[in-house]
Symmetry: D2
Subunit: 345 residues, 4 copies
């Protein structure tokens, strides 16, 4: 049994980790920390866990966490970098669901996250936890930077095309839409139901923190530097990301070849599902599950390829991918604890 | 492995059965029938099942269904009664998720469902599938009438009080609210998102088919005939039932005793969870799971007891309870295939 | 033109007042105050007002407000009572949309609102602004206490029955459901879309501040003291209240007589609409408008009368009723500025 | 008073026309037809109209309609073209909210709408009812083709750029999102709340009927033929369209100049509101109103201009624009009956 600790268990990625881990046959939950809720039974805050979890929130002390084999940080940006060094030194593996270790270029990170990094050398060591790209490195990693939600959906949709050199990397567009749970469980006016319900808007069009993360990943697969216009939007629903990706084909490639590229690229992936050409994936089909569903379109037989990519932002976009990474790090079957059929309707 | 057939697999209770059964370790799905979709891959209609189910919808012929150990009817009212006799004769057990076998009084049934019953003798034999009441009979049953969604939530909330003789059965009120999935997946104006979204209303206040079913169950637990006012409402959401039950105490009973009655009554039940006195259960805590969560209130310390009871109408109110019944009928652990944490948020 | 000031214009009742008043032909908006947003253009915070309002939020100073003919307080409880005395002394009329002046019994008010009242003598003078009860007093009032949202829906549904002595006032139940906008526009976890969306729950079943307000109003119409069980619930939608009221008939009264009592009681009311017996009013029918729609039911021809009453909590339950009161206070046609068809769908 | 008839008053554009017209000071509603509901009071089907409209639905006979000054067709595609010729011959003006007269190229129309056109000569005469482009022609028109919802939002967002020659017309993208009311009020599985709620998807990516309509309009403003990739999506909400438009600048144009082009283009338009550069318009700001709000972005100071354009699909995208056209046709102030503040929240 893997002894697991969760730092910051009161947010949405925290409770989602708990939903997955209490049923994981190889996991023993050792500590769930929360400074604000220390002493409260976890199931009092999250009654969906009643009967599945008997733990109380504990103070986030290193002594407790050092008893774990792996610690997940489901904390705001800037927290994991303060505690990771000591945990790693104590032999504990770390999976950070926040952004502290995602971006290799420190200056870029410090610009977008507007803080000084606390352990620059670990940034280098950290493995970017997108299994479909870095599986071998993840298996050996002490420290995994779990990808952001938008970056997961966008990269899985564009990588096969860049790797195969089929598109013009300088004119890419990612029009992405996310449910409100992506903004977390903190009190804020903008995600009140009275504000975000029954309405739709773009946000951060001028620049979103996930843009450099996406570009870093795409650039690794592209000869030419990628130029991406990334526009995130807020959906009046709770879970789900839908990325609509526009990629100009660099030469005339037929539908069958395009589809074949994706099917081959993801043939052995448990959590990327390439739908038949021309399908319209729905976010609900992956609700609660760790799957990314992808479909291709070539409207009017023109040279603009449209890729549709959907995930549950809290699962494949956060907690589920983190568990997938844990499975890889501990040599378990990758899908253990993650065989979940999307909740439809 | 239990060979399972599902008749009418295209509706919401059908796809919900499939969500549960494709992961049930003791089940082998043998046939999923649909006259309209015969030949279509089930996962084409319900892409959440991709990778979990390879079957195609088949014609609802008895030959196919007779190869099963148990057949679930996830069909409109009036269908199961036409096929059940022959299946039972062939040694196949039957669980009807519709209303054909729920009401023992034929005249009452024929009045509310406005049709002639096709096999009155089976009505007598059928066991009403509320495990918390009829577990022993279910274990021996060939034919189980799976309870309605409202009746499940209301009965579980009121039965302990009636059994203990603590309330006046002649002045009960059940103010119940259901998500739109309770109306099924048929094209209808009333459950369009443009009609049912962002709005709230009562419906069938003059009389709802679940009223006689609820009263039948409550009367079995009450010396005095029950008089219940039942008002159903349509919630602008997809899943979940919340029953707010008003029961005048017949004598002054203190809070601790009331709570103890419920806790004792459901102590051994895997799927009824009595919350601390004064809690406010939320439908989302049981979303996707088979749990019924119940809480008691005694507002202003008066003599009106308020019981709050929540279920997922598609799970404990339909498909999950049907699987629970199957588990009992086949001597399996009652919670196998049903260990599901509510999807929150 | 009536010079109007609004104190606390950044909340939902504030912006709703603005929506109504910018189109009111007899109103000139003089000041909209907000300590936090002073200097910001109102239409920058609320872009729906662009082109209709050129004002900036100003500091809530008495000097500014004294130039008005009437000041609306769309503030948290406890604010109006601090400023009302000086404004009244300066000849400004005051309409408080919060609870400061609603309850005549000071001890009751101080118990439920957990603060000391700042001007007890004004409580006495204040007129409870339910036009259907107090029209004549409102017309002469300097200070109007605008009713709460639940109290409006519940009182309008029960008053005709109590006035006519048709029901047993000691066994009343109000099962009420409100959209999330009733909780206001303040940052809070409980009304995040991730918490309140796609879920349903009761809250404050043990006791809600609107209970004493409702009882005060009902008692004025009843010989016998009223005993009411009031259970509020939170709907996964933005606007609308639906009250389901249960009232035992004190003697056998036929359907026609019951309906006649309501139709006669509200025959001259512009904003109470009695639907045909047996109707199911929907909150959306009154969305954005000042109407209360009411329907009666007598399920199973029993002695329990069910009254359904719907309003838009931000209009007839707050800002619209406040404008209605202003119209009455200034001798204008009662429906001026309030002729709004419900936004359906 | 203008005598107005509405053909097909039972759908969402029909009830929306009614919401606007019952309060229009220059309109007298003469006939609202519906074959299915003939004889029913309109306000029985749409209780939001109670007290505002006393009409019954009538049979759609030409005799009735010929008494009107103008007839709105709020019917499925293919209906108006059957009745328009005779009405026009009788001197009645016609505004078609469906697509019968929108596309000048008959072959294109017949391809996308998959039917034979009944009166090709009228197609030529019909004026495309986008007031911001065709105001003068509309004023003189007998027959107006009211634009589609997507085409309104997209054209208003792109036309100023094409007219000024600032963008490359061969690489345009319109990523558009619509609430479910755009699909109308007909019974259909796809727009059930259980299907369209809490989920998001693209649809008709391979080709949508609004594409040729959009291109026709854009081409009139462009020297070079427009090449547009148009991807519509279904939002889990009722009202609102948000178009996210991607337009490569043909040369480096600074932010101030871009903003100035839009502000100048729409300076005299009552219903197009250009927000400050970098704003994020929300669909709720225009809910229920006839406004189109537009904002510009230049992410990362690159050469890809992003235009955000929001409307209420049932108002500026349908019924409101139709009333605006009627006002122009009858020489009334363009905003009469349309001064409506968006319903926010």
């Amino acid at each position: 049994m893997i002894k697991v600790g969760i730092v910051g268990g009161t947010g949405y990625t925290g409770v989602e980790l708990l939903r997955l881990l209490v049923l994981h046959p190889q996991v023993e939950l050792t500590a769930v920390t929360s400074r604000a809720e220390a002493g409260t039974a976890v199931a009092d805050l999250y009654p969906n866990l009643r009967g599945y979890l008997d733990l109380k929130f504990s103070e986030p002390t290193l002594d407790t966490l050092k008893q774990c084999d792996v610690v997940f940080f489901a904390t705001p940006n800037g927290t994991a970098m303060l505690q990771a060094p000591e945990l790693l030194a104590a032999g504990v593996r770390v999976i950070d669901l926040a952004a502290d270790f995602r971006i290799k270029d420190l200056a870029v990170w410090e610009h977008w996250y507007d803080m000084k990094h606390a352990c620059p050398d670990l940034v280098n060591e950290a493995v970017y936890g997108l299994p479909e790209v870095n599986r071998a490195e993840i298996a050996k990693a002490r420290l995994v930077a779990n990808p952001g939600c938008y970056p997961t959906a966008v990269q899985l949709g564009l990588l096969p095309l860049l790797e195969a050199g089929l598109i013009d990397p300088t004119r890419l567009i990612a029009d992405a839409k996310s449910g409100v749970s992506g903004a977390g469980r903190k009190a804020a006016v903008g995600t009140l139901m009275g504000e975000a319900g029954e309405s739709f808007k773009a946000y951060n069009v001028g620049g979103h923190r996930h843009l450099p993360e996406i570009c870093q990943g795409l650039n690794l697969a592209s000869d030419t530097p990628v130029n991406l216009t990334f526009v995130p939007h807020l959906l009046p629903m709770i879970r789900g990301i839908h990325a609509t990706l526009y990629a100009p084909l660099s030469s005339d490639t037929d539908v069958e070849s395009l589809q074949a590229v994706f099917q081959k690229r993801y043939a052995d992936e448990a959590f990327v599902d390439v739908l038949p050409f021309g399908s319209h994936p729905e976010t609900r089909s992956v609700r609660g599950g760790n799957m990314c569903q992808i479909a291709l379109h070539k409207p009017q037989q023109g040279n603009m390829l449209v890729v549709l990519s959907v995930i549950d932002n809290l699962v494949k976009g956060a907690a589920g991918q983190a568990v997938q990474n844990m499975n890889i790090m501990f040599g378990l079957p990758e899908n253990i604890g993650l065989q979940i059929v999307g909740l439809l309707p």
